[in-house]
Amino acid sequence: MTVVDEPLDQPIEQPAARNVDGYELTPTEKRFIGAHLFVAIVAVLVGSLMGPLQAFEFSGLDLYPYLEPVIKSYYQGLTLHGVLNALVFTTFFIVGFTNLTTIKGLKRPLAKPIINTVGFWVMTAGLITTAIPILTNSATVLYTFYPPLEASPFFYLGLTLVVVGSWIEGVGFFLTLKAWRKDNPGVRSPFIALGNIINAAMWQIATLGVAVEILTMLLPWSLGIIDEVDPELARTYFWFTGHPLVYFWLLPAYTSWYGMLPKQVGGKLFSDSLGRLAFWLFLIVSVPVGFHHQYVDPGVPPTWKWIHAGLTYSVFFPSMITAFTVIASLEYGARKRGGTGLIGWVRALPWTDPSVAGQLLAGILFMFGGIGGLTNASYNLNLVIHNTSWVPGHFHLTVASAVALSFFAITYWMVPHLSGTKLHSPTLALVQVWTWFVGMVIFSNAMHVLGLLGAPRRTPLGEATYVPEEWNGHLLRTSIGGAILLVSVLVYGYVMLRTWRGAKVDPSEVPEVPIAESVRHPQLTPVWLDRFKPWLIGAALLLVVAYGPQLIDQIWNMNLNAPGYEGTPWPS
C-alpha cells in the first residue's frame, strides 16, 4: 500500500466515550442482527462468484460447461448474480444494519422485538422460496423478471415474502422511534437512527409498485388463474419500485458516510441540518422518477417521461448536498489529524483502517457513478445508452461499489462488534477493498465504453455473432477486471469467516459502533427536519401528481393479452 498514516500533529478530540456509547447490545440482539448479516454475506459471496464467470465469457473463456449440473447457463448465473447481490445481500444487510443503528442510535431496545423477529423469518422464508426455483432453473428471468418471461410461482411468492418481511421489520423500527420520542420529548432524533428509518419508510412506499405487479398480475398468471399479461403496465409497476430500490440500497451507505464515517476519521458531521434535509428529500423524490427507466418504452407519452426527467434531476440534488457535507466532514477530521494543503489533507485520513479506506474508495467510485447516473437520467441521452453495457457499467459503480463496498467496509467493524472478536487481518481487508476498487475501475470503464460502441447488456458477448473487432480489447478488460474482483471476493469471504469464527477478545479490543457528533449541536437543527408528517404528505402529493394520471390511464386501458413464449425460453 502506498498510503500511510501520517503522524498526528495534535491529538484527536476524544468525545466522552460512555456518553456516546450508552447502550450495549444484548447477546440476543447481537445474534439477531448477526443473523441478518450472515444471510447477507453468504448471499453476496455466492452472488459475486457468478460475476467473474460473466466477465470471463466476454473474452471467450466459457466456464459454464464445467458448472453443470448446478448452473445451466450464462443466464441462470446472471439471475443468481442479480437476485443474490442486488436483492438478497442488500435487503438483509440493510435491515440488519437498521436494527443496529436504531438500537444504538436511540440507545434502547426495540419496542416490540417480536415484530422484528417475525419480519426476519418471513424474509428468510421468502429467500428460500425464491432460491429453489432459481437453483432448479425454473426462474431464469433475471432480477427484473419482465413479463411475459414466466417464472415458477414460487419465485414471485418468495420475492413477495422478502418484501413483506422487510415491511414488518420496518414497522418494528417505526414503533421503536415512536417509543423513543415519547420518552425524549423535544430531543432531535439521533442521526443514524433517523436516517435508516426514513429509508425504511421510503421503502414501504416504493415497494407498493412491485407488490401490485406481483399480486395482481404475475402470481395469478404463473398459477394459471389468468392466461395473459399486460407487459407495459408491468414495466410501469416494476419501475415504480425499481428506481427507489437503488436509493433503498444507497441511503444506509449515506447513513454511515454522514453519521459514522466522520467519527472513524476523527472528525464531525459538518452539517446535521443538511444531512437530515438530504434524507427527507430522498423520501419525497425517490419514487416519482421511474419513467426514466422507460424513456425508450412504447406506451408511455414523452411528456410523462420528460416530467420524470425533471424529477430525476431533483433526486440528484440531495446527492450534491451529500458530496459537500460528507467531504467537508472528512476534511474537518483530516485537518484535525494534522492534514494540510489544498488536497494533501486527504493523505492524513486513516487509510490504514480498512473500514475507512473501503468507504473512501466507495465514495470516489460513486462520484463517477453519479456522473453516469445523471447521463442516464438525461431524457434523450438515454437513446445512446439504454440497454447497452453502459448500464451495468454504471450500476457497478453505484450499487456494486458505493453501496456494496461501503457495506463490506461497515462489516469490518460490525462483524467483530457483534461476534466479540477482532477483525482478522486488517491488511488482508485492505487488500480486499483496494482490489475491489481497482477491479471495478477496469471492469466498469470497459463496460461504459462498450455501451457507447453499442454492445447490448445482459448478453453473453463471447458467443454473440455480431461482435466487431474493435470491441475485443474492451471485452478483455472486463475479464481482467472480473479476475481482480474474484480475488477480492475470495479475500472478503476468508476475512469474514476468520473474523466471525475468531477467538473472543477482551471487550476493550472489540470495535465500537462509531457514532459521529455534529459540528453544530443537533438540537439547533429545526424541528421540521425531525418530523415525518410534512414529508410523508409531500411524498404522497408528489406521487399522485407525477404518477397518478399515467398510471391510471395504463390501468384503465389495461390489455391482458400477451401470452408469452410457448415452452421454456431459456437453456435447460
Binding site: 459538518f270 467531504i327 489544498l342 486527504v346 434523450n380 441521452l381 437513446l383 445512446v384 459540528v519 453544530r520
Partner: protein, 51 residues
C-alpha cells in the same frame, strides 16, 4: 444579546475551518461531470435526429 460575539455554539473549530479542500475536490468533480456528460451529448447529436 444575539449580537454578542461571545463563544459560538458551533465551537471554535468550526469558526476557523473553511472547507477549502472540499471545494477543490468538488470543482474537479464538476469539471469531470460536465466533460463526461457533454461527451455523451456530443455522441447523441452526432448520431442524428429521431423524429
Amino acid at each position: 444579546m444575539s449580537d454578542d460575539p461571545g463563544p459560538s455554539p458551533e465551537g471554535d473549530a468550526h469558526e476557523h475551518f473553511k472547507p477549502v479542500g472540499t471545494l477543490f475536490i468538488l470543482v474537479m468533480f464538476v469539471a469531470a461531470l460536465i466533460l463526461l456528460w457533454a461527451s455523451v451529448y456530443v455522441i447523441l447529436i452526432s448520431r442524428g435526429v429521431t423524429v
